[in-house]
Each structure stands twice: as structure tokens, then as C-alpha cells.
């Protein structure tokens, strides 16, 4: 292949750049930053496209060489010859993955499905990258680097960080995880152990499962035995029930017999027969009665009673007082008490009596009374007349007024006198008594009142007179004066008795007459009381004498008459009672004796009849009663047992007595218990075995899975080992395929190298570079760096010769001889020009001294 030209429309810093290439050597001497890498990337992109720009991916070429200009098509075209034809590749990139590519052959579009680079070079992009571009670092083959390694790397297409050795190491390491040479502790060994373990477990569980049918049989047999044992026990229980029934029947008969014997034993004690209950009861009653009678003897009337009776007899030696005597005495006692009370309490004066006595020191005489009556009547009469007269007459007022004046003066004088009299009486009352005080007060009050009235009337009259016109009636005035006089007179009569006219003279007069009458009655009454008192004293003395005589006869002395009388009554009563009781007691005792004798006769007859001793008869009778009860009880028992036994026999259908005794249920139950224990144990074993065998399918499945896993591990291990083998084989093949030809090719170049370097360069079997100098073979380390770079170039060329089958690509060199001296550069340049005849070389340098024209 030979590049003809390229047009970079937009790629990196290039914009509408056209570059022509020489068939052999196209030199570029440009300063740094020209765009050598950009050109190299553009050519690569034309042949191999550009990777997609991913959001999170590294900064790849598509992004890296996005046109700086920002506009226009991103791409261009390249023209080249290959296989005798002229080709043009047009390629434009857009967005993240857009790739518009066209191929023209001799001007005509050509369809090409595969990548252009693959098509033309039969090599992938990575291989093309590694071989077609040569930088200074690539050129420099240091003395410490192994050409073989470098060639291997180039051939292997891997970086320095991974190589065949590393790959083999990783495979080996991985394989060892599956299987170690020794020591175990790997997956296969572990899984194998697991498989073995599971196999053993499964065998064991199968064995357990296989044993189950036999255990089932055993359990069923035990079940049958248990059932038989239970039936046997049920039968035995039935038998035992029958035996028990017969035993019970026998017991009942035995009890009946025992009762019979007991009856006989008791009856033997009574050869004359057992006394009847009624007889025994009769005798008991008789004995009790005897006891009672004996106990009662002499108790109805005691010694003490006798003494008391004697005492009463003494008391009533002169005779017992009759009831009427006692009643009379009672009456006398009451009379004595009454008289005593009356005489001992003084006559109480009533408040009314006291009041009357205070008013009236003595009874008012008839004369006095008459005066008061006349005065009262006169006043009433005057009052009536006064009231009947009119109050006023015409023209008479002034005259009447003048005429009346001396009257008023007279009345006023009387009023004053009364007042003075009142005062005087009041003063005299201190020595004379309250009555005078009242009289004094009354007189004074009357006088004062009269004065006020006089004044009132006077003034009133005067007013009338002053008024003129109608004048006061002089007749009435005279009557008035008269009335007043009479009034005063009446007052004077009553005042000494303390009667005031506050409530009116009528009331005062009436009260006076009422009081006078009452006073007279009072005096009369007092006199009567005194007479009565004297009578009572006399009577009292008589009564007392009677009572003394009465009580003395019986010798009764008490503090009071009433007590004495009560005492006497009691004594009489008691005496009568005692006498009566004594008589009765004597009668009863006689009767009791007779009865006692009768009972004793009965008891004796009883004892004679039954041959019993009278001594201790009570105890004997108790024994008889007990024996009688025992016989009755035994008879009942006998009857019940006999009847019961018969009934029991019928009920239980006891026809045939069992020959054997009761079965030993204990032993049978013990056997049953043993069987049940075995059954439980068997059931438990079955349960356990079923539990253990139950997960046999799970174990089998687990084994299957483990087996599968183990097979998988073995397979993986085998494949890993095979992989390593294949890698080694590939390596050998590769070496066979590439390295030797490269070596051979390099040997061809070594002739040119000798011319260029002046040294004869050789490559050993181990790819070690050597050279001859001064007749001796020296190690390549001794070559200068410039010489080494030239050697490396030849190696690269040799490699390219072998790697590219179809078309040899062009070679881009980026300042490969920077470190050569001038002399060696000239030689290298010559070499380069010679090499360019075989392969198109594009040569870059930034040093003019290294420029090649």
C-alpha cells in the first residue's frame, strides 16, 4: 500500500489540510505541536473508524480530535494505492457514534462490509496501532529490555502490565482453587468429601428405612399382644367379679348365722325367758316412782316451814285478825295520814287574797259601800245630763265665759289640793303601809288630771269666746262643773282603796264592789278553815289511839302504819298458807307410802317371774333391755342377711360356684404394662427412625447437587488446565509464526545495519543483540542509544514484514534518530532511504539536523 494523499477537512487542529505523500519517504520537519499524532490518528480513523464516545468513558479519539473549529464535517478522506488499484476512503464522523464512510476503487464506490483496515491489512486496529506508528520510545530498545519480550508484547498485543506469564499464573492460581497438588483444602477435595459424607449418610438412612417394615411388624405384633392381654384382663376381671360376688354372698350368709348365734347366746342367759319390753318398762317406771316417792318424803313441808308456822301461831295467839278488821285498820291508817297531812300543811293564801287584804285592811262597811254607790250614781246622772245638753248657744258665749271663770278657778284649786293630799299620803305611807302609798299616788294622779282638764276647758272656752258668734252653753258648763265635782268626789272615795280611773269610773266602781264582796268571802273562809282544823286534830288523836291498840295486839312494830299493816296482812296470809301446806303434805305422804308398797310388790313379782335379783335391779333391767335390743337387732340382721343374700344370688345369677379363686390382676396388668412399655419403645423407635429416614430424599437431592457441583469443578479445573495448555501452544505457535521470521528478516536487515552502524550486528538464539567490534563479539548493551534505536527500527520493520500479510502498511516515524550523532545519523539516513524502497515511510522530525530531504 502506498499513501497518495489525504484531505483533512476537520480533525483536531487540522482544517482543510491537504497532504501529499511520497511513494517511498515523505519527510516532515515541523516543530513540536505540528500535529503528528493528529495525522497518525486521522489515518487510523480513515482505515479503522473511531470508537463511540460514551458518556462515562475515557477521553477517546472521537472526543479528543473533535475539530477545534467547531463547524464543518468532522473527517476527511485519504487516497492510496493497493493491489494495483487506486482507492479513496471518505469518512466523516458525527455525534457519539456516527460514521459515514465510503470506499471508492478507481473512482467507483465499492461496498465493503468489514472494516477497511481489516480488509486491506488483514489486521485489527490494535495491531495496526502497535506496528504502523513508531515513536522515540518505541524505537529505543534499552540494554535492559529483552527484544524477545518486546517482540512478544508487540506480537501479543498486550501492554506491559499483562503478559503470557501473568495469564498462565492466573490460570494456575485459579486451577489450584479447584485442585491443589497436595494439601487438600480446595473445592474439589471439599466437595468430594461432602459427596462421600452424603453417600454414607444416605446409606445409613436407607438402612434405617429398610429396617422399618420389620419394626412395623413388631409393633403390630405388640398391638395384637396388647389387645389379647387386655381381653384376658377383661375376662379375668369378669371372673373376679363373679368370685367377689360369691364371696359377698357367703359373707351375708355368715352374718346371718352370726346373728343367729348371738340370739341363742342371749336367750341362754334367760332360762325363764326374756322379760317383755313392756314389763321391763313397767318395772323401770315402778323403780323410778319409788325413787321419786322416797325422794319426796318429808320434802313437801320442811323443818323451816314448821318453825315459821310455830312463830305465826305465837303471833296469832289471841286470834287471827279478820279481813274486816284489817280493812278497818287500813281505813284508819289512811285517815291518820290524811289528817296528818292536812294539819301539817299551813293554809296557803292566794295572791288574790293577799291583794284584797292589802286593799281592804278591814271589810268596807255598809255605809261606805252605800256612799260609793250614791256617788257613782250621781256622777252618772250628771254625766247623762251633761251629755244631753248642747255645747253652744248663740250670744251667750261671752257671758257664759265670764260666768264660768270663777268655776274654773275653783276646780283648779281642788285639783291642787288633791295633788297635795296625794303627796301627803305617799309620805305617810312609809310608816302606815303600802295602802296609803297607793292612795297617795291615786290622789295625786287624780288631782293632776283634774288640773289638766280644767286648763283645757278654760282655754277652750276662751277660744270660743275669742271666736265670737256661737257661744258655749252655760247650762252645760254648769253641769260640767257639777259633773266634775261629782267625779272628784267619787275619786276621793275610791282612791284610798287604790282604785284609779284610768279605765273609767264605771270600771273602777264595779271593780271596787266586786273586790269588796270577794274580801268578805275571804274572811268568811278563813274562819271556816280554823274551825275545821280544830276538828281534825281531835279526830286524829282518836284514830291514833285505835291503831296503836290494834297493832299492839299482834306485836307488829314498823316504822310506819302502812308498813305495819302490810306486814300484818302478809303474816296472816303466810300463816294460812303454811297451815294449808302442812295439811296437804301429811296427806300426800300417806298416799305415797301406799303407792310405794304397791310398786315394791310389783317389782318383787317381776323378779320372781324371771328369776332376777332385786338387788341391782336397775342395772339388771338395763342389761335386759340391751339384750332385748341385741336380740331384736340380731333378728333383723339375720333376716336382712338371709333375704339380702337370696336377692343378691338371684341378681348376680350365682348358680355355679367358681372352682378357682380370683385371678391375679396385678400380674396380668404388670404383663400388660410391660407390653405397653415395649409398644411405647417400639413406637418411639419407629418415630425416630422415620424422622431420620424422612429426609433421605433431601439427602439424595443434596448428594445429586453435590455430585453435579463436583463434576462442574472437575470440568472447570480441566478446562483451566487446557486453557493454559492452549495458551502455551499459542505462544509457541506465535513464536514459530512471527518471531522466527522476524529474526530471519532482521538478519537480512543486519547487513544494512552493518553499513549504517559500522558494526556487524547479530542476534542470538535468545534474541540477544550482539555485535562484533574489534574482532570480538560484544553484548548489545554496549551499543550507543542511537545505535540501539536503529536496531530497534530494523526490528520493527522486520516485524511489520511478517505481520502484514496482504498489504504492507505505511510507517510513521516520529523522530526516531534524535539521539544519533551526525555520523551515525547520516548512515541511518542512508539506511532509512534504503528501507523506504521497501515500505512507504513518513518521517517526522522537529530538528533540522535530523531532516531528510
Amino acid at each position: 500500500m502506498k499513501l497518495i494523499s489525504c484531505h483533512i477537512e476537520n480533525f483536531g487542529k487540522f482544517h482543510n489540510e491537504n497532504i501529499k505523500f511520497d511513494e517511498s519517504l515523505t519527510p516532515f520537519c515541523e516543530k513540536n505541536g505540528y500535529g503528528k499524532s493528529t495525522l497518525a490518528a486521522f489515518l487510523k480513523a480513515m482505515f479503522y473508524g473511531m470508537e463511540k464516545a460514551r458518556a462515562n468513558s475515557a477521553f477517546n479519539d472521537r472526543r479528543h480530535f473533535l475539530p477545534f473549529s467547531g463547524g464543518g464535517n468532522y473527517g476527511g478522506y485519504v487516497e492510496f494505492t493497493s493491489g494495483g488499484a487506486t482507492y479513496k476512503i471518505e469518512r466523516y464522523f458525527e455525534g457519539k457514534s456516527g460514521d459515514d464512510r465510503k470506499l471508492y476503487r478507481n473512482g467507483a464506490p465499492v461496498e465493503c462490509a468489514e472494516e477497511f483496515g481489516d480488509f486491506f491489512f488483514n489486521l485489527d486496529r490494535a495491531s495496526f496501532e502497535r506496528t504502523a506508528f513508531l515513536t522515540g520510545e518505541d524505537i529505543d530498545v534499552g540494554a535492559t529490555e529483552d527484544i524477545k519480550t518486546k517482540l512478544n508484547n508487540l506480537a501479543e498485543g498486550i501492554g506491559d502490565d499483562a503478559d503470557l506469564e501473568g495469564a498462565l499464573s492466573r490460570l494456575e492460581k485459579k486451577a489450584k482453587e479447584y485442585k491443589k497438588q497436595k494439601g487438600g483444602n480446595d473445592l474439589i477435595t471439599e466437595e468430594t468429601e461432602k459427596v462421600n459424607r452424603l453417600s454414607e449418610t444416605i446409606k445409613d438412612k436407607r438402612r434405617i428405612g429398610e429396617g422399618l417394615p420389620a419394626k412395623y411388624r413388631t409393633l403390630e405384633a405388640l398391638n395384637a399382644e396388647i389387645k389379647a392381654a387386655e381381653e384376658a384382663i377383661a375376662r379375668a376381671q369378669g371372673e373376679n367379679v363373679t368370685v367377689n360376688n360369691w364371696e359377698q354372698y357367703d359373707r351375708m350368709l355368715a352374718e346371718a348365722k352370726a346373728a343367729e348365734e348371738e340370739i341363742a347366746a342371749i336367750q341362754e342367759k334367760y332360762p325363764r325367758g326374756l322379760p317383755l319390753p313392756a314389763e321391763v318398762e313397767g318395772v323401770n317406771r315402778a323403780l323410778r316412782r319409788e325413787e321419786t316417792l322416797n325422794a319426796g318424803m318429808g320434802r313437801a313441808f320442811s323443818a323451816e316451814d314448821g318453825e315459821n308456822l310455830a312463830a305465826y301461831r305465837d303471833e296469832f295467839e289471841l286470834g287471827v285478825p279478820a279481813e274486816e278488821d284489817l280493812r278497818a285498820a287500813e281505813t284508819a291508817v289512811r285517815r291518820e295520814e290524811e289528817l296528818g297531812r292536812r294539819l301539817s300543811s299551813p293554809h296557803a293564801e292566794s295572791p288574790r287574797g293577799r291583794e284584797l287584804k292589802e286593799r281592804f285592811r278591814s271589810a268596807p262597811t255598809e255605809e261606805k259601800l252605800g256612799a260609793v254607790a250614791r256617788a257613782a250614781e250621781a256622777y252618772r246622772d250628771a254625766e247623762q245630763r251633761y251629755n244631753a245638753l248642747p255645747d253652744t248657744v248663740a250670744g251667750a258665749a261671752r257671758e257664759s265665759a265670764g260666768k264660768k271663770k270663777p268655776l274654773f278657778i275653783g276646780l283648779a284649786a281642788v285639783s291642787v289640793l288633791l295633788i297635795l293630799a296625794g303627796i301627803g299620803l305617799a309620805c305617810a305611807s312609809a310608816a302606815a303601809g303600802a295602802a296609803l302609798l297607793y292612795a297617795g299616788i291615786a290622789a295625786g294622779a287624780v288631782g293632776l288630771l283634774a288640773l289638766v282638764l280644767v286648763g283645757f276647758f278654760y282655754l277652750n272656752k276662751k277660744a270660743e269666746t275669742a271666736g265670737g258668734g256661737l257661744a258655749a252653753n252655760p247650762e252645760k258648763e254648769d253641769m260640767g262643773r257639777k259633773k266634775d265635782e261629782l267625779y272628784a268626789n267619787l275619786q276621793a272615795l275610791l282612791l284610798p282603796y287604790g282604785y284609779s280611773f284610768e279605765s273609767g269610773e264605771k270600771y273602777a266602781v264595779k271593780t271596787f264592789f266586786d273586790d269588796a264582796e270577794a274580801y268578805s268571802a275571804l274572811l268568811k273562809e278563813e274562819r271556816a278553815c280554823e274551825d275545821a282544823r280544830r276538828e281534825a286534830e281531835k279526830e286524829l288523836a282518836d284514830v291514833q289511839r285505835q291503831l296503836d291498840t290494834f297493832f299492839k295486839r299482834y306485836g307488829v312494830v314498823e316504822e310506819t302504819r302502812s308498813d305495819a299493816l302490810s306486814r300484818l296482812r302478809m303474816d296472816v296470809k303466810e300463816y294460812a298458807s303454811l297451815t294449808e301446806r302442812k295439811e296437804k303434805a301429811e296427806q300426800e305422804e300417806a298416799s305415797a307410802r301406799r303407792e310405794l308398797e304397791a310398786h315394791e310388790e310389783d317389782v318383787a313379782r317381776f323378779c320372781e317371774k324371771y328369776g332376777l335379783q332385786t338387788a341391782g335391779l336397775e342395772q339388771t333391767l338395763r342389761t335386759v333391755e340391751q339384750d332385748r335390743n341385741a336380740v331384736e337387732s340380731a333378728k333383723r340382721t339375720r333376716f336382712e342377711r338371709q333375704e339380702g343374700a337370696e336377692k343378691f344370688r338371684r341378681e348376680k345369677n350365682l348358680t355355679e360356684r367358681p372352682q378357682e379363686g380370683a385371678y391375679d390382676l396385678g400380674a396380668l396388668n404388670a404383663d400388660l404394662g410391660e407390653l405397653r412399655k415395649k409398644q411405647t419403645q417400639c413406637t418411639s423407635e419407629i418415630s425416630e427412625d422415620e424422622f431420620l429416614a424422612g429426609d433421605l430424599p433431601d439427602c439424595e437431592r443434596e448428594l445429586e447437587e453435590a455430585q453435579e457441583k463436583l463434576n462442574g469443578y472437575r470440568e472447570t479445573h480441566r478446562l483451566l488446565t487446557k486453557t493454559a495448555d492452549f495458551l502455551k501452544a499459542a505462544d509457541e505457535r506465535l513464536k514459530e509464526k512471527y518471531i522466527k521470521p522476524v529474526k530471519d528478516k532482521f538478519t537480512e536487515y543486519s547487513r544494512d545495519l552493518e553499513k549504517a552502524l559500522g558494526e556487524k550486528i547479530t542476534v542470538g538464539a535468545d534474541f540477544k543483540v550482539r555485535f562484533e567490534s574489534c574482532g570480538a563479539e560484544r553484548d548489545g548493551e554496549h551499543l550507543s542509544s542511537g545505535q540501539r534505536s536503529v536496531v530497534a527500527l530494523c526490528f520493527r520493520l522486520a516485524l511489520i514484514e511478517n505481520m502484514y500479510d496482504k498489504e504492507k502498511p505505511f510507517l510513521l516515524l516520529d523522530d526516531p534518530f534524535a539521539s544519533l550523532d551526525e555520523e551515525h545519523f547520516e548512515r541511518a539516513k542512508t539506511l532509512l532511504i534504503g528501507l523506504s524502497q521497501r515500505m512507504q515511510i513518513v518521517y517526522f522530525t522537529c530538528h533540522k539536523s535530523r531532516a531528510i530531504e
Binding site: D118, E156, L164, E690, L720, T723, F726, R733
Partner: protein
């Protein structure tokens, strides 16, 4: 009259086709389903026909038998016509005899049921090597009434577990109640009678997917009619889900949800199918975890085809390319080649070998 036809209950089954965490639950559900069947029978039918394989093992455990007997005993008014199948052998624990548990033997046993004017004869025999050929000729059923025959085996040729339908023609059979096949199916015997497998009562693994229950027989009509009664506690479903478009485990889960109708009560075996890159990790565990709230249980298997594009290495002159070419050129099986290539490439690239 009505009867229940059920079979292949497999009480005591380990359910080990299910993962351990679900197996124990399923065992309990199986026992409970049988109990519910008996509760149903108590109210609705005269007898329950157990056409074999009531238990899972040749020698069922005593505890499983005791459980069975206890449930049967709880419905004394219902007869249980118990035909042992190939899974219950004579060496098993027998337990107490129950009056309503009727068994069959190696000779024909007939149980008669009458109600009103209706008479039903239920005949059954336990096939064995000794009677496999002779049972057909010794079967004599009356023409009148309804005749139900109970057998356990595979329809086909006569044998210990084989039933020759041709030899049952013309035997006045109205209904042949079969057990042994766990999936429901039916067919004709002759002009008079039909046969049916009722299928098992509960799916015991993902190979027994679909609806399960029992057949309710009604003899009151002209023929013995049957109605399928779904009765299983859960339905077992196996389904494929194409996850070719999934880039992540969650994508795969969404693909499953789109393509498979999920029911919270049921058990699922989801097969992830389609094509994924060889280096794509296995999504099965993650998808299973995501599905845990969408269904009763999900077992997820990765059955995707792995792609490995090796054409890129055709022109690779490096050791990678050479290695790939070496492996591809070998006569190893494709799957091995792909695995070796993946291991080798990862090793060369210095990546972790998560094999």
C-alpha cells in the same frame, strides 16, 4: 349418587423436586389438601375412590399412615375405596382397621351402593405380575345399574402396571377410574363406557405443572358423568421467558413479568431463554430474588444461549488471536471451546477469572 375419583396423592412425598425451603411447605399443603377433600366428601359424596398411590413410598411411614387413617376416620359416613398402587406395598404399616376403609385385593372385589332405585357397583383389583393377564376374564359385571371399575396402571398392554383397554370392552363398564398417570386424560372404552385419569391432587414438582384436583362422578343420569374440580392449594407453572434484550438482571426480571402471568399463590419454574453474550453474568439468582414478592415461589434456570463473537480475532496477529485460533481449530465440543477461550482471554487481559 355422587362419588369422588382421585388417585396418586402420594402422601409422604418428599417433594424434593422443589427446593428445600418450599418442599416442607408443600408436604403440609398436600396433607391439608387431602384433608380438605375428605371435608368436601363428607358433605357431598357417598364414597371416595382412591385409585392407587395414596402414599409415595413402598413402605409408607407409620406417621403418614396414622395421619391418613385419622382423616378417614373423621368421616365415618363416607366410604373410602382404597386401591393400592405400585407405591403402597404389603410391607407397609397397616394400622387399625376402619369400618369405612374398604380395600381391594388381587382378586376382584365389588362394593355395592344403592339409593332410591339407583344401584352402583364399584369393582377393583390390584394388578400384580400374577394376575395381570387373568383379571380381565374374571371380571363379570351386571348389565343393570352403573358399573365403575378401579385400576392403577398405564393404559396400553396388560401387565403389572399395564391396562389393556381392549380386553375391558364389552364388560358393562360405565366408568373406568384410573390412577398412575399424574396428568388428567380420558378416553373411550366402548360404546358404553369411558375411562379417565384424574391426575394427581397436587403438583409435586415442576414436571407436574398445571391445574390439579379430583373428578366428581355423578351416577344419577344415563351415564356416569364426571366434572373436574380444581382442588390443589397451588398451581405449578413452568414457563419460558426470552431475555435476549436484557442487559441487566432487572431487565431480565422485567422481561419475565411481561411474558409470564404471575399469581402470588402459585409456584413457578421460569426458564430464561434467548441469546446473551457469553460474558454476561448469570441473571437467574437475581431474577429469582426479584420475583419473590410476585409469586408463591420461583425457581429460575438460565437456559440462554451464549454468544461469543470470535470473528474479531480472525485477523488478530497477537497471542490472543493465535490462542483463539488454536482453540477453535481443536476438536473439542463447542461449549468447551467457548469456555476455554473466555478463560484464556480474561487471563491474558489480566481480568478476574470468575468461572
Amino acid at each position: 349418587m355422587k362419588f369422588i375419583h382421585t388417585a396418586d396423592i402420594h402422601l409422604g412425598s418428599a417433594m424434593n423436586k422443589f427446593p428445600k425451603e418450599i418442599a416442607d411447605k408443600r408436604k403440609a399443603e398436600l396433607r391439608d389438601t387431602f384433608k380438605r377433600l375428605v371435608d368436601y366428601a363428607r358433605e357431598n359424596v357417598r364414597a371416595v375412590i382412591l385409585a392407587g398411590d395414596v402414599f409415595d413410598s413402598d413402605a409408607p411411614f407409620k406417621k403418614d399412615k396414622d395421619d391418613f387413617y385419622s382423616i378417614v376416620k373423621s368421616a365415618p359416613q363416607v366410604d373410602f375405596l382404597y386401591l393400592r398402587g405400585n407405591h403402597d406395598s404389603a410391607s407397609a404399616y397397616t394400622g387399625e382397621p376402619l369400618p369405612n376403609l374398604k380395600t381391594f385385593s388381587e382378586e376382584w372385589t365389588v362394593y355395592d351402593y344403592a339409593d332410591g332405585g339407583e344401584t352402583v357397583h364399584i369393582a377393583g383389583v390390584e394388578l400384580s405380575a400374577e394376575n395381570a393377564a387373568s383379571v380381565y376374564s374374571s371380571l363379570n359385571l351386571p348389565k343393570e345399574g352403573k358399573n365403575i371399575v378401579v385400576l392403577h396402571g398405564q393404559v396400553g398392554t396388560a401387565g403389572k402396571d399395564g391396562i389393556d383397554l381392549k380386553r375391558l370392552r364389552g364388560k358393562n363398564i360405565d366408568y373406568l377410574a384410573l390412577g398412575h398417570i399424574h396428568k388428567r386424560s380420558e378416553g373411550k372404552i366402548d360404546d358404553r363406557g369411558e375411562y379417565a385419569y384424574c391426575g394427581c391432587l397436587e403438583g409435586r414438582g415442576f414436571d407436574e405443572a398445571g391445574e390439579h384436583g379430583f373428578l366428581l362422578l355423578d351416577t344419577s343420569g344415563e351415564t356416569v358423568s364426571r366434572t373436574f374440580v380444581p382442588f390443589a392449594a397451588r398451581t405449578v407453572v413452568e414457563a419460558d421467558a426470552d431475555i435476549s434484550s436484557a442487559k441487566t438482571a432487572h431487565d431480565a426480571y422485567l422481561c419475565v413479568k411481561q411474558q409470564v402471568k404471575l399469581n402470588k399463590n402459585d409456584l413457578y419454574r421460569i426458564n430464561l431463554v434467548g441469546e446473551t453474550d457469553y460474558e454476561t453474568e448469570n441473571f437467574a439468582a437475581d431474577v429469582k430474588q426479584y420475583l419473590k414478592d410476585d409469586c408463591g415461589f420461583a425457581d429460575v434456570k438460565d437456559k440462554t444461549e451464549k454468544r461469543l463473537d470470535l470473528s474479531a480475532y480472525d485477523n488478530d496477529r497477537s497471542i490472543r488471536g493465535e490462542f483463539v485460533r488454536q482453540v477453535r481449530g481443536s476438536d473439542l465440543p463447542e461449549e468447551e471451546k467457548n469456555r476455554i477461550i473466555v478463560y484464556g482471554l480474561k487471563a491474558l487481559e489480566g481480568r478476574e477469572l470468575d468461572v
